[in-house]
Each structure stands twice: as structure tokens, then as C-alpha cells.
Amino acid sequence: MNTPARSTAIVEWLRRRGSAIAVFALLILVWEVGVRVAGVKEYLLPPPSKVWTEFWKRHELVMAGAWVTTQEILAGYALAVVVSIPLAMWIAWSRFMEQAVYPVIVFLQIVPKIAIAPLFIIWFGFGFTPKLLLVFLLSFFPIVVASIAGFKGADRDIMDFARTTGAGGLRLFVKIRLPQALPQVFTGLKVGAALAATAAVVAEFVASDRGLGYLLLQYNGQLETPMVFATIVLLSLIGLAVYYAVEVVERLAIPWHVSQQHTAHDATM
């Protein structure tokens, strides 16, 4: 029905992304040819074609691992979102919470969370829980810190204007504070999303018997370098998918902000 429209959309997309795609394809090509011409050993740097064929041979096993890791990422990330945003609101509104809890959060944020992973194994064993918790922990801080900044950082003049209307409580929150905080909340959500995949893999490195992190270590130990690459690519794709999903939600939730960024971007081009 709308084939012409769709094909122009694809053309448009290619026109915008074309150069990036070309560079990417070129890199892969250089890699493929370079490795073959120079005769680099496969266990050091396999050509992309070998990565693909090896992956395809064992894709069922690897995809099962990918599903496990995806679940850890999604569950941990969802928990982080559900906990951090209400907490950020609470800290932004309550003087006590701000004075008592916020400094603690700032301090804990400095702690290298990944260093805590082994502890989680002691506390929660080898199963799903320690992975979920590490993903939660890594995603939680960027979201909570950005959201606090968003909820607290109301423009002074906007708030003064609002005060001259006598609005308070819920009405003020729904009409002013929440929408004006959303851009920063989404910045935090995207940083958190980018960290979620890292967290899941690290947790699997530390102790596990499934998942992409586990497979990665196995393949590494057996010098199955093509499979190591395949696993890394898959991990990247999962991370990218989560990030992109957040961006789609952002576009739906705050189109005014996204289009604003685009106009600014267009203006500088």
C-alpha cells in the first residue's frame, strides 16, 4: 500500500546512515582481507567470515546463553528503574532525605560496583540473583543521580511563575516538575541501559554456569577465538537493543525535547 513512501523512507535512512554503514563495511572488509593476506593465526584474530561460520554451527547453544543474559539485564534494569525514579523524587522533595540519604548515594556511587560482585556470590550463590543485583546496582546510580538533578533542578523563573498561580502539590508536580525533569531522567536511563549489559557479563564472569559471560570465558579458555568474537558481537547487540528501546520510549514520552535537540543539531550543520 505505502511501498513508495516506505522505500523513500529507506532511501532517506540510507542517505543519513549511508556513510557510517559504508565505513563499517569497509572495516570488516579490511579485517577479512588483512587477516588472510598477512596470514594471521586464527586463534589470534579470526577473519569475520570464520566468526560467522563458527557462530552458525553452534548458534543454538549461544542463543540460549544470550537469552539467559538478556533476562538478567532486563530484570536488573527494570528493578533499577522502578526503585530509582521514585527514590529520586522522594530525595528531591524531602529535606530530610536530601540531607540524610543523598550524600550516602553520592558516596556509594564512587564505590566501584564491579568490585562488589564477588561479595554477591558469597551472599546469594551462583544463580540468577547475584546477576540481577549487579545489573541493578550499576544501572541504579546513573538513573537516580540524573533524576534527582532533574527533579531538583526546576528553573527558578518557571517555579516563580507557578507560585503566582497558587498551584501546589499534585497539580504542580504533574504539570511542571515531572515534565521538566524527564529529559534528565531519560539521560540517566540511557546511561543505565548502557551499563546493564556490562554488569550482567561481569557477574557471569565471576561465577556462573550459563549465559554469554560464562560462554565467553569457556571459549577463551579453549582458545576458540572465533566464538569469543561471536559472543562479544552478540553482547553488543543486546546492549544496543536495550539502549535503543529506551530511546524509542524517550521519543514517545518527550517528543518536544527530542525534536528540540534535532533542530539544534540541524542548525549547526
Partner: protein, 293 residues
Amino acid sequence: MNLHDLGGADGDAAGGRAVEPGSGSVPVARTAVELAGVAKTYRRRGVETHALASVDLAIREGEFLAIVGPSGCGKSTRLRLVAGLHLASAGEVRIGGRVVDRPQTALGIVFQSPVLLDWRDALDNVLVQVELRGLDPSAYRERALELLDQVGLRDFADRYPHELSGGMRQRVAIARALIHDAPLLLMDEPFGALDALTREQMRLDLEALWLATRKTVLFITHSVDEAVLLADRVVVMTPRPGRIERVLDIGIARPRGLAARRDAAFAEATQQITDLFLARGVLHGAGRTGVSR
């Protein structure tokens, strides 16, 4: 709301009028806003800033009062005190006889920057005024569109702030200050960020709006011309801590439009104010004469 509605017609009529008390167009001079011995000192980390020295001032009902003064003399502070957004360190602000001890809601306020909500289009930015007051926005839709039309934004009601020019945004802010028909309008350098041409247009539009509604207006500006062209009375302030240097009655007939710039009273008043600033060292114009800016 166009140039040709306002300009020309009365160029001569105004010429002969000397500076006389009151604008002549305000029949009863009831006091709308009163500042009695109002002073403001900001304290921050133990440092005191005397923003506003003791000030007595009465704004009459239906009057257009402008305040000019050098940067930092406490003009914005005064506006915030009237709005109840800051509380006076000494003295009292009264609106309609009632002491201001909290943010006032029976007013419309325009800040130096438009202060629009990025997530709402122009129409919804005007309507947020009534929404925040808990009123039904659909009942005000017509009026909001009318106001946007009046400030020349009929075709821009569905545009978001980032799609509007600086001048257009400020017009939206003015419409937002008018939608709920409050008796008092507070404007803090509302045209400060605009180019000269837009600024002149906004001045003309504002005068016409004011003539149609006769609200009490407190208008802050650092432009001497603008103050004299718009106001019934101009309050000239000293440098910080701001005191009232002089209050000038501007007797140029209304509507003043474009012609008022050629009025003798305009030249005289701007000259007087410029001389005051020269005497205070706010302007350093040694060797030059003539009207500032």
C-alpha cells in the same frame, strides 16, 4: 494590533502638552499597590547585599508605572517583593490594602526571559496559567486564541517554544500573563532580549493592549525611551542599594504609537532622566549631549 492602528493619528495633539501630574486619563487615583518603607537585604553565606534601600511608592489603579535604573539597583527585587515571591526585610508591601506575606495570585507576571514550558505548544503555554489555577482550560481556549491573535501569533498556536523566535516567545509569555484577566500586570524587562525593531513593535502592541484593558502595570526596563514612551509615571532609581531618585509624570497623549518619539515631552523627559544618570555617574557621557541609546 498593527502599526497603522496606532501610529500617526495624534502626532500633534500630544506635542503641546506639558509635563503635568498624572496621565490625565486615570480618573480616580485609588492605590493599587503600595510600598511603605520597603527594603530588601539578601543574606547569603554571611554576606549581606543591600539590594533595595527603604522605598515608598504607590501605584495607582489603572496606572502604567515604569521603573528605570542601572543594572543591579534592585528593580527585579522590587518586582519580586510586589509579587510576594520574596519577602521584604523591612517595611510592607500592600496590594489593595492587604499586606503581601506570600506569593500573590491575583496578578500576571512576565519575566525578562519568556519562561515558557518546552513541552507545551504556544496555546498550551498560555493555558497553563488557568490549568495551574485549577480552572478548566477548555473554557479558556477561545480567549487564549484571541490573545495569541492579538499579539500577532494567530498562526503559531500549535508551535513549540523552540520553533518560535525570541520575540514570539515573549509574546506568548505576555498572552499567558493576560489570559486570567488579573487586575495587576508585573513585567520585568519583558523586551530586554529583543532586537530594536521587534522591541518597538512589542511596545506598540503592549500600549494598545493596555489601552484596551487599563490594568495596573508595573513595568521594569533599563531603556529610558521605553519607559517614557509607555508609562504614565517613570520612577528613576539610583545605583545599588536602590533608592528612588525621582518620579516623572509623562504627559504625552495616548495612544502614543510611533508619533510619540517626535513629541517634545518625550525629548524632555528622556533628557531629564539621562541627566540624572549622568549626575550619578551611571552614564559617563562627558562631552556628549543628547538622549541615551
